[in-house]
Amino acid sequence: MKLFTSKDDLIRWLNSLLRERIIVAPVRVQELTVFQPISKVEEIAFDFGNTTLSPKGWFLPPTETLFSVQNNDGQPKLVPAVIEKDAVIFGLHPCDARGIALMDSPFLQEPGDALYRERRARTALIGLACHQAQPECFCTSMGSAPNDPSHVDILLTEVEAGYIVQVVTEKGERLLPKGFVEYKGALPTPPEPQAIPIKEVIPAIRELFNNPYWERLADRCLHCNICAYVCPTCYCFDVRDYSDRGNLERVRSWDSCQSSGFTRIAGGYDLRPTKGARLRQRFYHKLLYFPEQFQDVACVGCGRCIKACPVNIDIREVMSDLQQLEAKSES
Amino acid sequence: MKLEYQPKIVGFLCNWCSYAGADMAGTSRMSYAPNIRIIRVPCSGRVDPLLVLKCFQRGTDGVLVSGCHPGDCHYNEGNYHARRRFALLRDFLDYLGIARERLRVEWVSASEGQKFAETVASFTAELAELGPRSES
């Protein structure tokens, strides 16, 4: 079903949603655009390439308290985390929506992550189709597209006088106000991001585990956490218990396979002691282990890692190198 | 009920001079403001900027670092290093928005009980003027 809304009506609609729900939307903070809960609809940035950080932080926050145990004078009391309000993520691009859908695989498979599951159930996704592809985008090669409605509840596409509103799910339908008229026109042609050949990546990467390529590539890697943190599908985390005067808090924070010590175990032994081993892990998880488990490559082609990596480790280049390496060794 | 603001002070006192000086204030029955909580360290040079910053983060309004007079350090040089370190830290914290008056460094010898009591009194009064840490 295709409807139409003017920009004014859209703002009115968002204001009514804001009364009952949290709206997480792209907001301009100095030179950056980031997803954050808004207090006024005017804060929303409508024109942006893509945000520095993906909206995965709503479902898997950089830091959260899973539960706390209060001392309560010797009678310990368990206080679970509470999700206060329903939410809407507004303005995410189709690549990011696909990222969230990919994260569902590890987080919702039984028994599932309770907090993630509840947030997911109580959050609607109103996506915004891209009218421009960025130089770092390659979503069409990774299973998405600038106008892909697959993983959102509603998809908005900007046109001359307002926005086309595609209602995708029942959850989306329930969000709609009355009064949007039917849109009888055609959807605009989407932009075309760069296409990259990836057909042979998985067979190639399967054979290249011991190849010196990884140590060479890792020469310039800083082993910071930037790629994993900006990525819509990276989801490694660390859980620690902190106590303070008898009160305990179980805290979960983002972590990354890139940092040294990620695989350090009791006794000091490190399963990935070299830079190459750590860098290799990220690509193997995304391009081999995740698809082997969940049938999808864990990359949506948003290009954030390409833009943010301080030393220009470019996943498109890596995928092309891998395919070339394997082709050369086969011949 | 309006509670009057009582500054919370953490004092890092070196064992050999300042802590003994504070002890002397006590044995001489000098009274000084109870706002200070004393932590005994071997030397003023042991006081880590991390300790100072964590004090401020956990609700302390002022931090006092007290050691032997320069030249009299029990470990010969510890207080010289402390002097350099805290000169820089005081300025840096001020730059970050923690007023320089909140970090105080005093040289108090073991016989200067009076000086210790006066230091605490004046520091408490100054912090009362300045207000709680969270506001400045």
Partner: protein
Amino acid sequence: MDSELIHQIGNQARDLLESGTVKGVIGYERASDGLTARPFFAYEPAAVERLIFDETCSYNLVKYLLDKKDEKMAVVVKPCDSRTINLLLNEEQIKRDMVFIIGVTCPGVVETSWNHKGQTLQARCQTCQLSKPLVYDFLAEHEPVERLEGELYLDIQEMETRPVTVRRAFWLEQFERCIRCYACRQVCPGCYCPECFAEQLDPLWMGIRIAPKENELWQTIRTFHLAGRCVGCNECERVCPVDIPLSLLNRKLEKEVKELFAFQAGLNPEELPPFATFKKEEKLGFEE
């Protein structure tokens, strides 16, 4: 820039690799955007043709030597980067005979990020006092460039004139954005502790929480651990994904250390760093 410079660097690199004097040459190559630069490790003479040098080569390559301590490496070094060499020599993290320094006279570099090249020289280049590296084994030279005489600390001084409460609000806002990716630490040549205070479990200074208090502790103490050691390469600010103005922190301490102790890091590998020494009679504001 200069194809003459690249020529000189390339020839030197090729000689070093062909003779087996070094295991590898750390330099720059063109990035995947076709516009900016990225670090490049050449291990074979044939790879030397990928080396470049132009105004996008703002990276400080010297830290990579710390990952390659077992092998002799060559590294391309701008004048500012040479201060890093002196720092690491001073702190005994590298051995002079394990590095071949390919020095480059540098007319300055521009701000870069992926697919973006700035039009004006970086602020630190505009006030740079070094026309050639302080230490090198080979110097790739071109005609000398006129040094600009800019004021070094105007932005720091402006920050100092703001009221304490305004500064507080400013820094809290900046630290709120930090996601503790630790890129600043990873890129910094002065940050090489096998166990960073941020990861210490006992005492537990910070923990894993990514929140304003912990971020403030992280930024403040990392900067303070670099007092008298930061050589002003500005890599930390370049790599920060959320644009925290780290040079406003590091250069503040650089200014104070200069004023209080008349010391600047990385100029002389033999000079004792300011916190490893003291002057008995110095007056630092804590007089009786």
